[in-house]
Amino acid sequence: MRIDVMKTYKLFINGSFPRSESGRVYEVKDAKGKFLANPCLGSRKDLRESVVAARTAHHGWSSATAFNRGQVLYRVAEIMQGRSDQFVAEIIAQEGATPISAKTQVQSAIDTWVWYAGWCDKIDSISGSTNPVSGPYYNFSIPESLGVVAIFADAKPSLLNLVASLAPIIASGNTAILIANEKNPLCAITLAECISTSDVPAGVVNVLTGKFDQFISWAGAHMDIDGIDATGVSKGELTELKELGAENLKRIYSFSELQSTKRMTNFMEVKTVWHPIGI
């Protein structure tokens, strides 16, 4: 007879796994209403630390070559594959899914991750262009990453939505603060463990758990967050986010398609370069 070693669910900030600065946790129940886990109740300071980490990591990550980013992301998919069973168990517990549908979800999540990894070195060619201008100039439009993007992850299907939100944002060179879904946060923490054991630099992805309504007011008003993927929030919360985000013109979007280059280009800025012909 042995006692199981229970997992402590922690945050993921700047490449390490701290507890919340608040010292608080909240209770998550499984699909049948039984106790499942005590993840951290992330505080405003945890968010601030994450933004600082993400901002610091942005220069290195966005200036890495697209090929390099693609390879690093593919590596994450490899690690996720090895962790499949853990994801499946968490999805069954959280969402009350059948083993077969949980397995299908994990597989399509990994496939979606690989799909976005492949886009790293292609998005520039597809959404950038050379433009005709009336003068002796070459004129290029080049998409570049926006900066720091916060994600409010959708509840169901939890892992697939996480991947569909996070992968495109870091594939395009942004750094991310992933706010795990309040009800179904376990997959986000496990995904953070996959990311930390692949080659993603510290600070590129930060994962927080806690109450959505609190994070909405903190992230919406934070002046150093450039964009928000608000797919997981309600209609009323989206309005609140947009009102708060108006101060620094945050880009705030919700998406319905899981695999779409819009999820990348909406968090990119177009830089236009003029270059004289003949020099």
Binding site: R48, V51, R55, W218, A221, H222, M223, D224, E247, N248
Partner: protein, 315 residues
């Protein structure tokens, strides 16, 4: 200057006095500073502390790549740290290399900062490896160009070799050049002094020799202003005041990059040296990046949400 503690100005009497100093309890020192670092300062106290910290900043640029333009920009920032909010106080001083003193002085005078002093680093900063004539000329030069504060380095090699008389005489000679009107800050470069006992010894040596301020570091060597070092120096100025009735200032420099670090320093000052030292005339913070973080925290206190580095200047 303050040699009443010494029987005469000989090296023997200096060494005799320094021998009377108790050794530092290094474990106790780190435990105490760790405990003090947990103090939290909020709301109106934080507002007050941020403004005090801004007034204490010696806004510094000490790079080989310093240009007149960069120094002028720094001076403008020193006078009005954020031109969109004139309620923000000016910094304590502008700290530059010797050859930039004139440019800084003119920029301050023309930019509304007549009463902001210019501090110059001299005596072959940062290593201090030059002959005495060069060090003296270096200092005279800076004062002639308008420096009203001199940040000198001690000869750490001589100190570590036990040649304390030489270190003492150097500080004394530089203080004589400075006279009454020019403030002398003595940089101990604690990162090279190895032990806290040495820090205590060097602090007393500098105070006895006539330094107006004792300063931790050049900022060129890590570790710089660690909390235990600042703790030992604050104790030294407090005890020196009890012995002589003279208040010496303290200036930590290097590694103080954000508001939290600055708050921790202020707590140390208040708890160790006493509230009299909570004033720019007795406590300064040598920094460059710190000011931006103080400004961002000030914006956060004013607006209620976290600010972005995009809204403060780059340097």
């Amino acid at each position: 200057m303050n040699s009443t503690l010494l029987t005469d100005n000989s090296e023997a009497s200096l060494k005799k006095f320094l021998k009377t100093l108790a050794p530092v309890d290094a474990v106790g020192a780190s435990a105490r500073v760790e405990m003090l670092a947990t103090r939290s300062i909020k709301t109106s106290s934080k507002n007050w502390a941020i403004d005090l910290a801004i007034r204490m900043v010696d806004l510094t640029t000490l790079e080989g790549a310093d240009t007149p333009g960069k120094v002028k920009a720094l001076c403008a920032k020193g006078v009005y740290p954020d031109p969109t909010d004139l309620s923000i106080p000016s910094v304590g001083a502008i700290c530059v290399y010797n050859d930039m003193v004139k440019i800084a002085r003119e920029a301050l005078d023309n930019g509304g900062g007549k009463n902001i002093p210019v501090a110059a680093v001299t005596t072959a900063f940062p290593s201090g490896r030059a002959s005495m004539e060069v060090k003296i000329q270096d200092t005279k030069d800076a004062i002639a160009n308008g420096a009203s504060e001199i940040d000198m380095v001690i000869d750490r090699g001589a100190f570590l070799a036990g040649n304390l008389g030489l270190v003492f005489d150097e500080i004394k000679a530089i203080k004589e050049i400075c006279g009454k009107d020019v403030h002398l800050k003595v940089i101990l470069e604690t990162g090279e002094l190895v032990t806290l006992d040495n820090v205590r010894k060097a602090s007393y040596l500098a105070m006895l020799a006539g330094g107006d301020f004792i300063k931790t570091s050049t900022g060129k060597i890590a570790p710089a202003a660690t909390a235990p070092v600042v703790y030992v120096m604050l104790e030294a100025v407090r005890d020196f005041y009890k012995l002589t009735g003279v208040r010496i200032g303290v200036k930590p420099a290097g590694g103080i990059r954000n508001t939290k670090d600055a708050m921790k320093q202020l707590v140390l000052v208040n708890e160790i040296a006493g509230p009299e030292w909570l004033d720019p005339s007795l406590f300064r913070i040598g920094a460059s990046a710190l000011l931006n973080d103080l400004l961002m925290q000030r914006m956060k206190m004013r607006d209620g949400y976290y600010a972005s580095p995009n809204y403060v200047t780059l340097d």
